[in-house]
Symmetry: C2
Subunit: 462 residues, 2 copies
Amino acid sequence: MQTPTVSQTLSTTLQHRRKRLAELTETPAILWSGGYISRNFPANTFPFRASSHFLYFAGLPLVNAAIRLEAGKLELFMDDAPPEASLWHGEELTRSQIATIIGADRAYPLTELASKTANTVTIAVQDSKTYQQQCQILQRNVPYPQQAKEQDVDLIKAIVTLRLCHDAEAIRELKKSATVAVEAHKAGMRATATAKTEAEVRGAMEGVIFAHNMTTSYNSIVTVHGEVLHNEEYHHALQPEDLILADVGAETSLGWASDITRTWAVSGKFSPTQRDIYNLVLIAHDTCIANMRPGVEYRDIHLLAAKIIAEGLVDLGILKGNPADLVEMDAHALFFPHGIGHILGLDVHDMEDLGDLAGYEPGRTRSDRFGLGYLRLDRPLRSGMVVTIEPGFYQVPAILNNPSFRDRYRGVINWDKLAQFGDVRGIRIEDDVLITETGTEVLTANLPNKLTEIETLVNSRS
Amino acid sequence: MQTPTVSQTLSTTLQHRRKRLAELTETPAILWSGGYISRNFPANTFPFRASSHFLYFAGLPLVNAAIRLEAGKLELFMDDAPPEASLWHGEELTRSQIATIIGADRAYPLTELASKTANTVTIAVQDSKTYQQQCQILQRNVPYPQQAKEQDVDLIKAIVTLRLCHDAEAIRELKKSATVAVEAHKAGMRATATAKTEAEVRGAMEGVIFAHNMTTSYNSIVTVHGEVLHNEEYHHALQPEDLILADVGAETSLGWASDITRTWAVSGKFSPTQRDIYNLVLIAHDTCIANMRPGVEYRDIHLLAAKIIAEGLVDLGILKGNPADLVEMDAHALFFPHGIGHILGLDVHDMEDLGDLAGYEPGRTRSDRFGLGYLRLDRPLRSGMVVTIEPGFYQVPAILNNPSFRDRYRGVINWDKLAQFGDVRGIRIEDDVLITETGTEVLTANLPNKLTEIETLVNSRS
C-alpha cells in the first residue's frame, strides 16, 4: 500500500478499541486480514477487501497481515514487499511505517506469528486460502463463527459488543460514505432522462462512487423490476411507465459502508397509483425513524412499519380487515416480505459473518413467522448504533401466485383492486440512521425522499 | 441467471468449438464454472466470474455448473434454483432452458456428475471451493495447470490450440468489448479538464463501461504515476504538468476482454519533452503493427519496438551508442522494462492461468535477459490471434536508482540529458490487434492515438 489517507486520530481510536476489547476478554486474539483472491487467472484479482474484524482493530486494509491483540496491545505481523516488487507497485509503506500509522506496539515479519499462538482465539475469515493458514498456524480446525465454541465465542461476543455501537472515528467514516452514496443517487436520478437502460443509470451512480475513490459496499441493485429483491442484472430497457429502484451504497477506503435505496419514475412523474404506494412507504419510513431512540426494540419498529403498511393498504382497498389483525396473520408480508433493516458498519449487513450472534440479542432467535423471520436485527436500540430503515412494497410473483398464500389470505386481499396497481412492481425507501442519546440522526438526510423532491431531481437532468 | 443476450449463432459456434476439441483430444473432459466468492461476509459476494475455459465451451457465465465434453458432445450439469430463491432472484432460467440456449446434447442435475467421471481430465479453476469439488468428484489431486501431467496436459494443449486463434463469434465479442473501452477512454479524456484527482477520471471511465452493462476486464490503472507499472491506487491529485496514464479495458457479459492504454496531458497540452517521448512511443507502436502478419515472430516485434525506442533515445541524447548494441545489452529495458504485449481473449492476459503453456511455443522458455524475460508471448503470429501492442517509456526509480544497473549502463546513459525529461514519468500506448490472413486489423482503431488528436479530445471537455 502507498500512503493512505487517515485521520490524525486513527491511532488513538485503534488504541481505545483494543483497550475496550481487553476489558471484555482477557484471551489473546489473532485476526487475519486476508489476501488477494484470483478472478479468472492468478494475477487478475478481485479488488482486495480486508476482513472487517481486522479492519476494526488495525484500521488499514493491509494485504496478508495479521494482528495479535492482548491486554490492550497490538502486535502487527506482515512482510515488507520484496525489492523487485517496486518495479510493478512502486515504493510501498514498510511494516515499520505502517506500525507507526496504526500505533502498533510491536511489529514482526509474518514468520514470527507461529511462535505467538499459545492460547489464542480468532475468527474465521472469508478468504479460503487465508482460512487454511489460520487453521495451520493455530494448529486446529478454526470453526466458522456460527459453530464457534468456548474462547472463540468469547472473542466474537466481545467484538460484537464493540462493533454494535460506533465511536466517533467510525461515525465520521460512515458519514463520508453516506455523503458519497447520496451524490451517487442524485447522479442516477439526473441520468435517467437520457438513459435507455438500467445499466446506464447504474454506470452514472457507480461512476460517482469511484470518482470519490470509494467502492460499492455491495453489488448495486438498479432495476425496473424492484419486485426481484436481490436483482443484480442491469440489462432491461427503461420504459416511461417504469419505476427505477436503486439500492446502491458506497464504501470508504478504510472499509465503512453506506446503504441507500430510492425509487423514482423513469418519466420523472409518478402515476397516481405509484404515488399512492410511494407515499405509504414513505409514511412508514418516516414514522419508524420518528419512533427510534435508545431502548426502543428494533423489532417493534419493524412491526410498526408492518402496521402502517397494512393500514395504508386497507385504506387503498388492497387489503381488507383490521390492520392489527392483518399484521398478526402476516398479511403485510405479502407486500413487505423482508425486515425493516439491519445494522450498518464495516459491513453493509454489519457482522453478518457472525450469523445472528451480532443481530440478535442473546437468548433471542429468528421467528418462524413469514412476517418476522427475515428480520436481521432483534435488539433494543442503543446510542451509537447505525441501522437502516427500509420499508417497501412489492408485487412478487413468487408470493402472490403461491397457491398456499392465495388460499391462506383469500379473505383479506382484494385482487381486483390490486390489479389497478399493476404499475407498482417494487418501491423501497432506505436511509441510514444513527441512534443518538436522545433520538436519531439520519446520515443520508441530504438525499431527498419526498416524492415531489425526487421528481424535481429526476427532471433536473444533468 | 435471467435471460441473457446471446447471438443466434452461439449454439452453432459452441458446437463447432467442441467438435474441434474432439479432433484434438479423445479423452473426455469436465470443466467447472466456479461459484460465488464471498467478500466480507458470505452473502456479500464479488461479482461472479466463470472460469474462462468453461465459458469458451459453455458460452454463458453459469454459476456452479459443469460441462462434460466428449466426442463433440456437451453434457450440462447444474441444478435448478430452489423455488424459494425466486423471492430474492426472480424467475431464473432452468437447466433445460439453458441447455437449449447453449445447444447442450444432454442436461443433468449436478449430483449426476460424480457418475460420469471415469477417465476424465480437467483444468483446475481459480475458485478454491470449486477446486476442492474438482478434486473430490474426480477423486484425485487435480494439478494446477503448470504442474499438469499426462491427460490433463493433453487437454490443456488442445484448448490452447483452440483459444489462440479466435472464431467469428469470439471476434464479434472482442470488438464489442473494444468499442466500449474506446468510449471509456474518450470519456476519461473529456473528464480531465474538470477532474481534480485520478479517481475522478477513473470514475468517468468505468461509469461508461458499467453503462454498457459490461465490467472491467482487470483492475484499471488510471494514474499520474505511470512509472508504477501496476498502479491500482487513484488518490493522487492531478497537477497541470502531469501526464495521465490510463490502462482500462472492458469485458462483455459473456466474458470477452479489451485492453487499452492511452496517455494524455492533464493540461490538455503536452510539454516539448513529453511530446518527444510520446511520439517516439507512438512510432514504436505503429511500426510494430505495420510489421505484423501471420508467420512473423511476436518476439521479433518486441525486439523491433526495443530497437526503435533505443534509436529514439539515442536521437534524443538520453542513450549513447549503436541502437542494435544497446538492445543487445538490454539498455532499452531501462526505460521499457516490460514485454510488447500479450494474447487477448476471454482473459486480458489470455490463458495466463496455464502459465507459459499458452504464451510460449512448445520448446521455448522465458529468457533470463532483463530486456526479454517479461515477454508474455513468444510464438509466431497466426491469423485469428488477437494481441496487444503496448510499447512504453518509464522512469522507474527502482530501475534507474539500482546501483548495479547504474554501474552496468554507466557508459550509455546521459544522466544530464535524462534529467531534462523529468516531466515524463510514464507513457504507454496500447491497442488490441487482430491478426488477419494478410496483416492486421486494429480492434481499438476508433480511439485516436496521435498526439494532436488526443489533445483535441482532452480539450473538448464534455
